[in-house]
Every structure is written in structure tokens, then in C-alpha cells.
Assembly symmetry: C2
Homo-oligomer: 195 residues x 2
């Protein structure tokens, strides 16, 4: 085996992650076979397994990189930006993420290994809520943990509809309603008192 | 084969649906084998196949009955009731429903066969929005289709979190925020203008 530079290995790792994400999205986790992963990444199984000892390691690494990207968006964007990003996610990839939900809840080993992703997302969400509160876009009557949960429920709903429908009808209006709920104000236009 | 009454057959059909729902929830669609379906329903494969020629027929019948129950709740309850029902769904069953999302989007035959459920839910949702509007719980500025989409996004988010987490933290507060957004008012407590 020839000696290779660290840069080369990192570039290779990154390419494998990109290809694997497409492969998981196209075929789902179970059907993403070694042969298909080789095709999608353009790398041999030897190269893939060098970086990721098992398919699960590879899948979790893709999830983690996604979470890092998402967290980066949350560090700078508004709630509306974050929700719009989820509503525009690749429907196939959204499906794969959604399908792992059973496993995450029922398989303690998998849940533990998913934890880095969970921690990243939770921390980014807390940062987002704090920033939105400073900008007076979260009503003082809404506790941090309720605001964060509301954002994640609406975000998961958008992600699931993206996976099911391929698109979310009226996504901008739905997101505007959600942000209005957080700010404690009404949506655009006149307000009607609740009955 | 002995001659059996229509009542007996309908009771049997209903029992098979109940058992099958538990079986799908426990094992997922793929792993719900004929042997497991026999165990869960207490019926022979002959009896099961008499009512449902294939496992897919059985699964779709369970989904349809669920949709009928859900629609019945929507005919009488408020948005808050409907959302609370989704947040309290059996997490295992929620997972199975969520997992079929890829298939529904990518398999035209499956999507067509799922259509009765979709039609039931869409119609119930329209009824719900009309009733809530009459009760002044939907702001006049929010079109029907946006209100319906918002409810279904929040509902799907609750269902997905139920599937992933097993419970939805702060569900009542999250639901209160959603209903406040629809009414165009603020949640409980003083209002802060949005920034």
C-alpha cells in the first residue's frame, strides 16, 4: 500500500461522505450495499473501510457532518432561515433520517452513538433561541425550552412532509405563522382575538 | 370449511386488524412475518388471508381504520385535541407510519392505495379548519389551506418526535403556541411586539 498524505486522506474521507449520503438517500440505509457505496463514492471498499470500519460508522459520520452544517446555519440565521432549510432538504435524505427513528429509540448502542449529533443540534438550538430572544423575536412569556421544542416540532414536521410529499405546500406561510407564534405577535395583517 | 355468519367474519376482521397493528408496531412492516402476525392476531394465516390477500392489504386496512378514527376525532374536537392525540400516539406505531414515507413517495402503486387514507384525513382537516374559523379560532388573514397545512406540519412534527423520543417534552405548551398562532393572537400572558 503506498504511503499517502494526510491531506489526501481527508479529501478522500470527505468525498466518501458526499457519495455515501447520495447512496443512502437513493437506496435507504439497509439497501445501501457495499457495491452501491463503492459505485456512489468511486472508491474501493478497502478505501471506504479504511475510514469507516462499518456501514453504521459511515452513516453516523454522514449524520454528524449534516448536524455540523445545520448547527453552522443556526449560529447565524434566524428561526425562519432554519425552518426554510429543513423544508428544502433533499426529500430522499430526509426519508433516511426519519427511518432511523425506530432504531434510535429502541437500540441503546445506536442512540449512544447518535448522541454527538443530538448534542450539536441541541446546543445550536439553544444558541438560536438566545439570539432570537435578544432580537425580541421570542416573547418573554415563552420559556427557552418551550421555544426550542416548538422550533424542533415545526422543523421535524417540515422534514417529515418533505420526506412524504417531496415538497411542503405553503411552506413560507407556515414558517411565518410559526415565527409569529414565537414572537407572541400575530402574523401579517390584522389580528382577531381568539374565541 | 364451515359456513360462518357475516357478524362473525366482521368481528374476526376487526380482531385481526387490532392484532396486526400491535404486530406492525412491535416489529415494523418488513419484520412483521406471517408467523408473527398469526401470533399477534391469534388467527391462522388462512383466516388472515381470507380477509386480506396480502400483507400490504392488511397494513393499508390498519392505516385506513386509523384514519377513520382520527377523522372522527377531528369531526368533533378542537385543533388542540387533535394535536394532543398525535403527541400521545403509540410511539411504535408512529414509527411504522413514518417509515412508510419513502414508499408512499416513490412507489406509485402504494401511493394510489394509500389515497383513501389521504382523502379521509384531508377532508377531516378541512372540516376542522371550517369549524375553528366559525369559532373565531382561525384569524381571517390566514387562508384555509395555510391553516390546514400549519396544523398538519405541527401534527407531523409531534408524531415524528413521538416516534424518535417516545415522548414529546412540553407538548401542551407547544400545542398552545400553535393554536395561538392560528387564532392570530398571542399565547397566554402579555404580548411582546415582534422585532
Amino acid at each position: 500500500m503506498p504511503k499517502v498524505s494526510q491531506d489526501y486522506l481527508e479529501a478522500q474521507r470527505s468525498e466518501i461522505l458526499e457519495g455515501a449520503r447520495r447512496c443512502f438517500a437513493a437506496h435507504g440505509y439497509e439497501e445501501a450495499t457495499v457495491v452501491r457505496l463503492e459505485e456512489a463514492t468511486g472508491r474501493s471498499r478497502g478505501a471506504i473501510f479504511h475510514h469507516f470500519p462499518t456501514k453504521l460508522d459511515l452513516f453516523l459520520a454522514v449524520l454528524e457532518r449534516d448536524a455540523e452544517r445545520e448547527a453552522a446555519r443556526w449560529e447565524t440565521g434566524s428561526v425562519a432561515d432554519v425552518l426554510a432549510g429543513l423544508a428544502a432538504e433533499d426529500p430522499d435524505w430526509a426519508t433516511v433520517v426519519v427511518e432511523q427513528s425506530r432504531r434510535r429509540r429502541t437500540d441503546p448502542t445506536f442512540r449512544a452513538r447518535w448522541s454527538r449529533r443530538t448534542t450539536l443540534v441541541r446546543s445550536a438550538l439553544a444558541t438560536l433561541v438566545a439570539r432570537e430572544r435578544t432580537a425580541a423575536r421570542v416573547a418573554p412569556t415563552i420559556p427557552d425550552e418551550v421555544a426550542a421544542r416548538f422550533i424542533s416540532v415545526v422543523g421535524d414536521g417540515l422534514l417529515l412532509q418533505r420526506a412524504i410529499l417531496g415538497e411542503v405546500p405553503h411552506a413560507p406561510e407556515v414558517i411565518a405563522l410559526a415565527t409569529a407564534a414565537l414572537s407572541g405577535g400575530s402574523g401579517p395583517g390584522p389580528v382577531t382575538p381568539s374565541g
